[in-house]
Amino acid sequence: MASSSSSGLTFKLHPLVIVNISDHYTRVKSQLNLPPSLTSTSSAATSNNNNNNSNGGENNQQKPPRVYGCVIGVQRGRTVEIFNSFELIYDPSTRSLDRSFLEKKQELYKKVFPHFYVLGWYSTGSDAQESDMHFHKALMDINESPLYVLLNPAINPAQKDLPVTIYESELHVIDGVPQLIFVRSSYTIETVEAERISVDHVAHLKPSGGSAATQLAAQLTGIHSAIKMLNSRIRVVHQYLVGMQKGDIPCESSLLRQVSSLLRRLPAIESEKFQDDLLMEYKDTLLITYLAMFTNCSSTMNELVDKFNTAYDRHSRRGGRTAFI
């Protein structure tokens, strides 16, 4: 039921929202304590807090739980920027939305961020469903055209982009009856400096950080993946050119010109000055490491000598017979 949106709004999504939604989902899922084999007794260990089960928990907990919440942000003209989100209590079986909780949360957020207001709601799942429309309509009294942010929690290693989709509601005439349906919209990710730092940090996370070797390995791994990506892109261009030479692909001059201008940028840095600077820095680093090593060794030697002296002085107290030094 999702086609592409025609409202002309541009959406900007902050990574905080994505992290919030996935965190909410993970908390709920881990609190449910799903055993690997599905039993219906596990469903009893649910819902003390903001838990939401999609099928009321009667049958087996095979389906992962759906979580619901609200997204807030700013709308300036045609640009909608989604900054933050919070959880909501919603029971899909009874279709009841806890209004007082929502209003209380709204008030709290208004105090801290006076400019933000409720832009829509979020949920998890693989696709937008009919039952979501009820929640959507329930929110329509707060915001006349709410957004629906859907996160797909299934981990798909082959997938390259984010499993987040934003839906808007549009009034379409279907079989003569005007109905609200969900239409997909595109969005961009927008980051504040603080968000960028934290996302960067998480991306470089290594399980047992700290010692020099793992830091080196982490940095090398980063470089490695960057070069791998560059490599695959160059390969694509190469295959394209080979195909063009063989005649499989029609010659397109403007692309060829762009490729030739690109190749002219290689080698990227080649001057003599660069080599000199590089060697100088390299030698400086080596020298400093060497110096540090020397200092370490001499201090250890010093300690050793002191211990030796103390040890031997004890047994030759009289006479000032100084061992070593």
Binding site: I223, L241, S254, R257, S260, S261, L263, N296, K307
Partner: protein
């Protein structure tokens, strides 16, 4: 690659014009095309069949001129100026811009002397004005001008039309690039493995030493005489730090 986008419309316009006309009328179209301020790519026009028909006829001079603009430089023009029709000032300017692009093809660092020779410019001021106003602001090249050492360092240069043999060399360059990056990837993998093995060895070594120290400490608590123990402790400490 903004130049390509800017040129795309102009190229389409001229291709349509060229395919609509024939013979000597094409000559005037060529002059118009080569004097157009934002058109630097002529291979699409050259590819139109009506243009290829001009070969060998009386109007082949125009075809030669178009080819000159596609692949040649200002010095080519000067050497064989008999073959080509007279150029208007706009065309002269364009040919010089294209000459700079060709020079940037082979070397990244262009000396002022060479540029002045190729472009028939006598003083540095004029050369720099030409480079700044006509090449950099037009978006053809990007780079740094070093007046003290008298050279122009090119960081980016737009592409010219390809000669038929250049495709092969481009593919060669790309394969070299690929091979280098593949090797680099392998080297990085090895380095990562090396770093991991070294840290493993180091940890093992430390653990061994710790175990030995523990043993010795237990021996001390059993024995009362302590003379040989301290020295071995000190030597163990030094071996610990020397291994880095």
């Amino acid at each position: 690659m903004e130049i390509e986008e800017k040129q795309a419309e102009v190229i389409d316009h001229f291709v349509k014009q060229v395919s609509a006309q024939k013979g000597s009328a094409l000559g005037s179209v060529f002059v118009e095309a080569t004097s157009h301020p934002s058109l630097f790519a002529f291979s699409e026009i050259l590819a139109v069949p009506t243009v290829a028909e001009l070969e060998g006829t009386d109007n082949s001079v125009h075809l030669e001129m178009l080819r000159l603009f596609a692949h040649g430089t200002w010095s080519d023009y000067k050497r064989n100026s008999g073959k080509f029709p007279q150029l208007v000032p706009d065309q002269v300017l364009k040919l010089k811009q294209l000459t700079v692009l060709t020079l940037a093809e082979t070397k990244k660092v262009l000396s002022y002397d060479q540029l002045m020779r190729e472009l028939d410019v006598t003083n540095v001021r004029e050369l720099e004005d030409f480079l700044i106003n006509d090449c950099m602001y037009a978006g053809l090249v990007r780079g740094k001008l070093d007046q003290l050492q008298r050279y122009f360092e090119v960081q980016f240069a737009a592409g010219r039309d390809l000669r038929p043999g250049q495709l092969g060399s481009m593919i060669q360059t790309l394969s070299n690039w690929l091979a280098t990056s593949d090797n680099l990837l392998v080297t990085i993998q090895d380095k990562i493995k090396w770093a991991d093995t070294m840290s493993e060895l180091d940890k093992k070594h430390r653990k061994e030493l710790e175990d030995r120290v523990m043993e010795v400490k237990k021996a001390v608590s059993v024995k009362t005489a302590s003379r040989p123990i301290l020295t071995s402790k000190g030597s163990m400490k030094s071996t610990l730090n020397l291994v880095e």
